[in-house]
Subunit: 447 residues, 2 copies
């Protein structure tokens, strides 16, 4: 059956086992379902041709960027095409004078920041992985710098999308604000490939901070750590990153990276200051706040190398844990709560791990109230899912959300009825409106 | 016919001529169409009862907040009920520890900031008028501080809405980020009362800056002024307001407020710094940048009184112009363009005013690329609409939007087909999905 598509798109449709294999999994979800073929789209027309074929044969299409999801977003749920966008990797336009760039969806965030060298600007959204920008928009990704610069929704000004029927829409404009009608741009951001295929993004850029100051601050316990984070948020300091790692995480980092950190909960902080004198004043204030909050150890990074070492420790903490427990499976939760509820939820999470006899660590974007518990277990251990379920239930009771940045994918679908109530049925109706034959990434967000 | 509604909602439905009169106009659109009755809703049930009556009699409902729109949003387009939400004016919850507040839609932004006194926090969105927060969400309002804090979309975390069918939805959560399904919250923000009635808002609060520094900087011409604004945006300085007023605006301010400013284009700037030392350093850098950019006169406000006088001048500039030309009509454009296109558009606007023999002035949120041309003319002068049309066409050609913050209402409907292309038809389909009988604010955004 795919031969007709191969004829339509010569050299672009693969059924090679290696291609099917890599397009049937992601970086975190424990399932593997290869597609029937992988289409390597090189432009809008290829995507439209793929969708026309999909409509004709009623075979769904699953968009694929860099494959760095951990929620099963790119894993087909039945016979489906994987629509690989990695060849659409051109930075189409950089306009420093407008603080914006226009890119194809397969450009990764690191590639974009390389292309911005020399402009004095950068694209701030940093989910850790070198994800594709199309995929990051599809899941409304965010990361360590979101506390200052916002996530994808705040940094994507406009999108070009192709609908299931092949129509091309331009959503939003390359301006910093607009009130012209319904906000379809933000409807498509976070829609996880279920409403349309993102084919072009107009992104907001920011001036590279000239003066950066970072701190690594250890505390006796998690409650002190969370309260220190609150003090920073309330201070008005130009905090650009505010990350928490618990003691198990630190233990893993020490082993994996050969560090010698105190095995206590820690805050990693970064401030972006406008001038050298402002930096010094802000650095002093930050130190005072941390001391008042009961810090037991404070290290300031003074050089780029020290900063890199600090953030390497934070960025590598997932792999550090994986390394600490080889051969195991990992489940990452992604709950976000109102900020004051963080200590409660972190405590609950630790107690629940113990209660279920599970090992795991906590790390997260504490300035946003968003943290991850990485649960380590044997493949298929039902306690991991039980942990996730109970943690999410407690999160929702605290007014939180089941996913702050990873998206719903396959794993979090079951939490949405409780999180959204009657609004979920309206989301389904919007899905039905844009994709009546359920051809776009079916089985994600909704069943 | 309204008697049956009056029986259902005793003391809450008025047909008094004075009520009908005030609910048939707004603060800027040159039309007056009184509703058949005004419902003063005091809670969710009143709104549901009103909508049930509206469905039964196929009489539309026009939500009404503070009536400060200038685009005709609250003006009925045929026999309709005006649904006045000003009695739903309770601040339901202030949670400083979570940086959030929960309010009813009739609370105005000034009332909320009064209620926040003593918390160290404030709600930053400031459109000038003391608008209701429900109305501000409905139009995705923004204002002078948006360059730093964002507009309504960035500062509304969650909404409760009632749909045309009476169903109550909770959209979004009181958290700083979520990736859990479709973003219906942002679909309703900016929907101008056409998709549902906003009945509760969860708002993001910010720490009140302890150290504020303002500048008033005059330039020889508009091009220099716009370039200076760009230099500030690129500097990484913590700019919190960045406003431009042209020489006609300054002339009007001088006359209206008895000031003695140079009659030249001016930037009003405000910086929010974290410490006294940071403020001093940032203030020095700002001064240097302004001098390099060719400033001909710089005044720094050192006290709260001086700051208030400065911002009064900016905030009163609309009324200053009205005062300069008594008995005239005013049309305010609201175009926003990519930042580098500002000088082009400002120049175009000035030339077009001269070409059409019109008087007007320019003021705007130059950090966001958004500015208003206030056109003064005799009532009914067709040149005002011609001016608006041509300015918007040029704006769209530059990649801009017809409305940065005022919304579409009645006046800007005609520009949407060009701005959105095929996406507009999908907006209509979403309208049809949520409001199949076109009972919610019909004739706004779409015909």
């Amino acid at each position: 059956m795919v031969e007709s598509l191969q004829r339509r798109l010569p050299q672009k449709v693969s059924t090679a086992p290696a291609d099917l294999e890599t397009h049937g999994r992601d970086e975190g979800y424990p399932a593997h379902h290869p597609p029937i073929a992988v289409v390597y789209a090189e432009g809008l027309e290829d995507i439209q041709a793929t969708l026309a074929w999909a409509r004709e044969h009623r075979i769904p299409v699953v968009p694929f960027g860099a494959g760095t999801s951990i929620e099963g977003h790119v894993i087909p749920q039945g016979p489906a095409l994987s629509l690989d966008l990695s060849r659409m990797n051109r930075v189409l336009e950089v306009r420093p004078e407008d603080f914006l760039a226009v890119v194809e969806p397969g450009v990764t965030r690191k590639t974009l920041n390389e292309a911005l060298k020399g402009t004095g600007l950068f694209f701030p959204v940093d989910p850790g992985a070198d994800a594709s920008l199309g995929g990051m928009a599809a899941t409304n990704a965010s990361g360590t710098t979101t506390v200052r610069y916002g996530g994808m929704r705040q940094n994507v000004l406009a999108l070009q999308v192709v609908l299931a029927n092949g129509e091309v829409l331009e959503l939003g404009r390359g301006v910093r604000k607009t009130s012209a009608g319904y906000d379809l741009k933000d409807l498509f951001i976070g829609s996880e490939g279920t409403l349309g295929i993102i084919t072009r993004l107009t992104l907001k850029l920011h001036p590279i901070p000239e003066h950066i100051h970072t701190l690594r601050v250890f505390f006796e316990n998690l409650t002190d750590t969370a309260q220190a984070a609150y003090a920073v948020m309330a201070s008005g300091l130009p905090v650009a990153r505010l990350e928490l790692v618990d003691e198990i995480g630190i233990k893993a980092i020490n082993r994996y990276l050969g560090r010698n950190y105190p095995e206590k909960p820690v805050l990693f902080l970064e401030f972006h200051s406008s001038t050298r004198a402002a930096l010094e004043a802000e650095s002093r204030l930050a130190l005072e706040l941390m001391q008042e909050a009961g810090a037991i150890s404070i290290d300031a990074a003074h050089t780029q190398e020290e900063r890199t070492a600090q953030w390497e420790a934070r960025h590598q903490s997932y792999w550090a844990l994986v390394n600490l427990f080889p051969g195991k499976e990992y489940l990452s939760t992604d709950t976000a709560v109102p900020i004051s509820k963080m200590p409660d939820l972190v405590t609950y999470s630790n107690r629940l791990l113990r209660e279920l006899g599970l090992t795991g660590n906590i790390l997260g974007h504490v300035g946003d109230g968003n943290f991850h518990t990485l649960v380590v277990c044997e493949p298929g251990d039902p306690r991991a899912e039980e942990f996730s379920l109970r943690l999410v239930e407690h999160t929702l009771a605290l007014g939180g959300t089941c996913t702050g940045e990873h998206g719903v994918g396959l794993r979090k679908k079951k939490y949405l009825p409780k999180e959204h109530g009657p609004a979920l049925a309206w989301m389904r109706q919007i899905k039905q409106l844009f994709d009546p034959h359920n051809l776009l990434n079916p089985g994600k967000i909704f069943d």
